[in-house]
Amino acid sequence: MINPNDEFGLTRAMWFKEKQGATVHVATVGAATVEPTMRKALAIGADEAIRVNAEPTDGFFVAQQLADVIKNGEYNLVIAGRESIDYNGGMVPGIMAALLNMNFVNTCIGLEIDGAKATAIREIDGGKETLSTSLPLIIGGQKGLVEESDLRIPNMRGIMMARQKKLNVIEPVNATHATSDKSFDKPAPKGAVKLVDPENVQELIDLLHNEAKVI
């Protein structure tokens, strides 16, 4: 599946394509097993796909691979997701921006492009901030960049056309694996819930105060 945060970005990219004449390429670091998902992005309307043939072992490694793709392709707008829902690293867009010396806006919930100028809105703790910046630009997008109800899904025509579009496979460049996952744990098993009678909310207050000590 396409990472949810990236889906919002892909739909926004379609808006730029349809309203402002952008060409949209999608890129991923992954094995051949990711190609059906990339075809889905092509079916939604992306023009071309690039797959870096490597396992996405860690955020730094992925960022280096994609930075190379961006540099070679001379892209002036890169729409990434704020974080992926598997490892929640949240670092690929920012590291790419640092490696390429490109402007970067994270937690992006709004983006307008006017020539080389860009206005972005980012979500901050307790509100939002409007930023003025310029291309070349990388954003870490999320829900809000477009509305959930506006997310594009592939239609039959898109799926047929996707078959003709280019999906380029390239080999990875030499890059560092900055971190490695040694092991995984599940959370500690939970005890059963303590149910309180709805006629006796006082008991809940007492439990929260005396037992849980959270009020």
């Binding site: 945060n5 901050i124 409007t130 996952d181 040694k182 709805p198 809940l204 929260l208």
Partner: protein, 322 residues
């Protein structure tokens, strides 16, 4: 080569996440037999840091850095890292810290592990436990690079007192205009209200409330508890509540001490987002609601009956315990 910690402040006062980050930095420093150096931006009184084991603070006093700017702040921190020969940098999990951590990692070619929830498994090699799979599990992750960045999860390792003697040093990083190629035009923030990220208590509601017009009692309950308000995804998608209140896998994470969920069934994606909260209370009419399996305390009942009674009893409780 001390451990560096970025200590965030709001209006010149350190945030709780700054003290958590400092506490974690102190733990790492102890294990590495070294000390903790903090970097502060426009904070007049940095003395609170001494309580949390910080022995040196590089105080930046710069008008152009009064508003947070991820690129400029990351340049300042990178300069501090080079100046002090730093190998380990600790940040919090706030939105601003996460924004700047990735830039810093790229600039320093540093391995970065966010969402770290416990003291390190080891420091040589550096292995830390962090949240993974959108809070459904944990990973033990080793950092292989020379310079290492750790992002500390909210309300996980916690705040630990370790009294130190604090040396203050003025620090003027060379930040030129080019650093501000992305700049803030406007900040739209509700001043004074508790944010979900900083709240000790979060009161959340979902479709069981039936309509946005019924949220008055949720806001009142939050007000009595000094809590932040939150909501489930469907309710924010329908526009009943603002996007910023959506908590869950694709919304905000919740790591508060107490999470009260009213009229929320407890879909897996919602639970993933709130699993880091310490105590969960669920109020729902449906005894089969999946959320009851994840809850610590629960009331099977009608929110429209239970919540007003809870508000009333809480007001009495607050009055007695003032």
């Amino acid at each position: 080569m001390s451990v560096l910690v970025y200590t965030e402040a709001d209006n010149g006062k350190f945030k709780k996440n700054a003290l958590e980050a400092a506490s974690y930095a102190h733990k790492i420093a102890q294990e590495l037999s070294t000390s903790v150096t903090a970097v502060s931006f426009n904070v007049a009184d940095t003395s609170p840091l001494a309580t949390y084991g910080v022995s040196k603070v590089l105080k930046i006093n710069n008008d152009s850095l009064k508003t947070f700017n991820a690129n400029a702040y990351s340049m300042a921190l990178a300069e501090a890292v080079h100046k002090e020969g730093i190998k380990v940098i600790i940040l919090s999990s706030s939105t601003d810290s996460k924004y700047l951590a990735a830039l810093l990692a790229g600039k320093l070619k540093a391995g970065y592990v966010p969402n770290v929830v416990a003291a390190p498994d080891s420091v040589n090699p550096m292995v830390v436990k962090r949240m993974a799979f959108s809070n459904k599990g944990f990973a033990h992750t080793e950092i292989n690079t020379d310079i290492k960045i750790i992002g500390v999860s909210n309300n996980a390792y916690g705040v630990h007192e370790n009294n130190a003697t604090l040396n203050e040093e003025d620090f003027s990083p060379s930040i030129n205009d080019a650093a501000f190629s992305t700049k803030s035009v406007n900040v739209d923030k509700v001043v004074g209200s508790v944010t979900i990220a900083d709240a000790d208590i979060v009161v959340s509601a979902g479709r069981g409330l039936k309509g946005p017009e019924n949220w008055g009692m949720i806001e009142e309950l939050a007000s009595v508890l000094g809590a932040a308000t939150a909501c489930s995804k469907p309710v924010s998608d329908m526009g009943w509540r603002p996007h910023g209140e959506h908590v869950g896998q694709t919304g905000k994470p919740v790591a508060s001490n107490l999470y009260i969920a009213i009229g929320i069934s407890g879909a897996i994606q919602h639970l993933a987002g709130v699993s880091a909260s310490k105590v969960k209370v669920v109020i729902n009419t449906d005894p089969e609601a999946p959320f009851f399996k994840a809850a610590d305390y629960g009331i099977v009942g009608d929110a429209f009956d239970v919540v007003p009674k809870l508000i009333e009893k809480l007001k009495e409780f607050k009055a007695q315990n003032a």
